[in-house]
Symmetry: D5
Amino acid sequence: MLFHARMDVRIPHDLPAEERADIVAREKAYAQQLQREGKWPHLWRVVGEYANVSILDVESNEELHDLLSGLPLFPYMDITVTPLATHPSDIALEQADPGGAAS
Amino acid sequence: MLFHARMDVRIPHDLPAEERADIVAREKAYAQQLQREGKWPHLWRVVGEYANVSILDVESNEELHDLLSGLPLFPYMDITVTPLATHPSDIALEQADPGGAAS
Amino acid sequence: MLFHARMDVRIPHDLPAEERADIVAREKAYAQQLQREGKWPHLWRVVGEYANVSILDVESNEELHDLLSGLPLFPYMDITVTPLATHPSDIALEQADPGGAAS
Amino acid sequence: MLFHARMDVRIPHDLPAEERADIVAREKAYAQQLQREGKWPHLWRVVGEYANVSILDVESNEELHDLLSGLPLFPYMDITVTPLATHPSDIALEQADPGGAAS
Amino acid sequence: MLFHARMDVRIPHDLPAEERADIVAREKAYAQQLQREGKWPHLWRVVGEYANVSILDVESNEELHDLLSGLPLFPYMDITVTPLATHPSDIALEQADPGGAAS
Amino acid sequence: MLFHARMDVRIPHDLPAEERADIVAREKAYAQQLQREGKWPHLWRVVGEYANVSILDVESNEELHDLLSGLPLFPYMDITVTPLATHPSDIALEQADPGGAAS
Amino acid sequence: MLFHARMDVRIPHDLPAEERADIVAREKAYAQQLQREGKWPHLWRVVGEYANVSILDVESNEELHDLLSGLPLFPYMDITVTPLATHPSDIALEQADPGGAAS
Amino acid sequence: MLFHARMDVRIPHDLPAEERADIVAREKAYAQQLQREGKWPHLWRVVGEYANVSILDVESNEELHDLLSGLPLFPYMDITVTPLATHPSDIALEQADPGGAAS
Amino acid sequence: MLFHARMDVRIPHDLPAEERADIVAREKAYAQQLQREGKWPHLWRVVGEYANVSILDVESNEELHDLLSGLPLFPYMDITVTPLATHPSDIALEQADPGGAAS
Amino acid sequence: MLFHARMDVRIPHDLPAEERADIVAREKAYAQQLQREGKWPHLWRVVGEYANVSILDVESNEELHDLLSGLPLFPYMDITVTPLATHPSDIALEQADPGGAAS
């Protein structure tokens, strides 16, 4: 089950440099582990911003919240989640259902 | 080169049903041709809305505008385009550059 | 799996009265069937507005989109979906996990 | 009488950890007491955010404000209250009034 | 129990003049009846806009929604309802409770 | 001459407790004096928020600004002022002018 | 007593040309009469928009609403009114009160 | 050449009182000098807010930016600039061009 | 003197095709004449939208409003104008003033 | 390939003056180097704001993000990027394609 998430990072400028570096390093390790497990199939940087656009693949809303609230940067991010469904024009649907509404 | 696009469809309710059906059918054929050509690698429905989230893969801004303005539904959609870049935590980067900033 | 939806109804004032009455009647029957099936456990009117706040209980994002896009009023509503998870202060969790963060 | 409330928690990052932990613990106890008293029938976490969606059941606006302003996290939350009414398509109304407008 | 409501009137310009005049006349009669019954203690025009600010005094959310959705102009208004409570600095509270927080 | 004002209080969390208590106490005294003088005929708490909705009755814009900028909490409030006029459906107008447009 | 008003004109494109021309001509005559009476001391066009910024000088809120709602274009304008007061740095105040807070 | 500017002052509450007083005093002197030079023909206080509405009269965009960025309060203000032009209904135009479009 | 303008085109879908084609053809001729005169040095399409970003070079606000309000598409566009000044980091300033503040 | 960027600078007022001066000096040197390389063909100051409007000319989204995230002021700016394409009314297109849609 796919979800779209946009995450905007806003680390306070007076956070000690060491604390910041530690959080960012743990964030990277955590994000890469989830990619390897197939939970986080897409992760892109938004050009010109300290933000990302992500696609998450989870079993449930509960699992998604656990995953996101476990991010080391969670306290410093604004996250917006959008549930996704299969689009009727997706060519992966073609064999099963060659008709349907577009866009 | 990847771009994120959100497209919200707003077809006027007084558009003749035949004209509407024709536009929607041509939209689907056009969208599927672009998927087959690899220009439109991801296309998802936003749950509960007549809208989609798309990832487009093009050579240039010019090509992207030609592609989007050629959509049969283009006159009836609000489209927002966001340029994407590789995220430093993307595991595809691991072999080349095993360090870098997260999120 | 629970989702929160707010639905704002905007029926064009020039829709023929008969067509409008037919849509509204089918909407009611459809909404009541889903309540009886347990898919739509809560449905409230927003005071002073032609809008509702709903809680839907479905197996997946796909099922939720099918359910919502099947609403007879779907073409005339702005719907915003928010995925929900169990709150750590929910007393239903008390026996299993008597600790955890509030709010 | 039912009210919908969305509460977004924004604890300043420089609040001492001990003070924060104390507030969060008292918040949980307070929220659970109100659930047991039937004043707070529903409490859900918004997926991906430090926020909740709640349904409160009170006798009056005065009681609701007392309840909300008594939350230990009240100084650190943005709360939006929406009054709710029975929806005409609610199946609980079926026996009394089998007609009425939908959605 | 007091509620604040702001009502913005947006009558479509192509509504037949006779239908419009009829609605506006019925709106006035209805609003005045509610004032006489004490349900609508304050009604002010917003300067420069076809809008009003109102204070309603009702027994419940249900009564308020019935009152507002019964307005002849209801289909042509955007209404925003805000529940009100007694302010701790209100001098009407002085005898009972001469202390409390301001603003 | 009546004005509507909404005041949202945002006291910085690191303001010393003593300073805060002093400001809030002076605010209350000031607000009550203005109520007794008839300048501030209505003052309500917005349910669930540290905010109020007020009706002020003054001779001029100058007097209103002096009154509001004199509030001890003025530096910590976002205030929005809306000028009000008599509504044509106000029953107080009935004897003088029994006609006029509604809402 | 001065008020700032911004007026954005939005005439429906399907209003008959003759009706439109008549309204615009009456608007001009009305605006010029008010300028001659000293009620409308400043009237500027916003560059690139069918909109104006105005300063009105009236005795009361009632007079201002009568003036604005009497504009022939009133049904086709979005008007936002802002009450103004003398600024403490205004040099017209210098002789009377040579001190005071800036900006 | 006229420009409209709205300036909202947001001085951080932890700015030392002496520094604040010095900035505000210099702001006043600077604003009054520009008024005397005819560059700042109108300066009004927005009722209920620490903000002003101004009309500036300058030779060019460059001069306007130099003037505004030279304000001692510039680092603590949100400024929005709107270019103005003569309105076709301005009575000052009457002798030269007695026709033209209104509003 | 440079101005930035963003123009969003919103032609009503029920405008007769012939009228629309005529307006669009006249718009193109007009835009190209202004480019040849050096008044409109830059004109770009916003990718994915029926909108442009433009840089205009004019003598005054008056000239700019005349230019923009003369656009055949003016009644069907939302235009936002932003005045521009030389940036202190512009390398064209280097010889005259090799210092100054950045960004 | 051209991109439009608006950059709003928001340096915290409690950043040490020396650190601030160093960042601003490095920003200027960096911006000028990119101008000399032809990557940043246009850079304008927004009148009345600590902000700029820029046109960047790069090979790809990746290059643009590297360029922008390398700005010394990047942590203190809100940047919004908009991809641009050739406008069909651009006179540079005239010889190749003398037709096409306007605006």
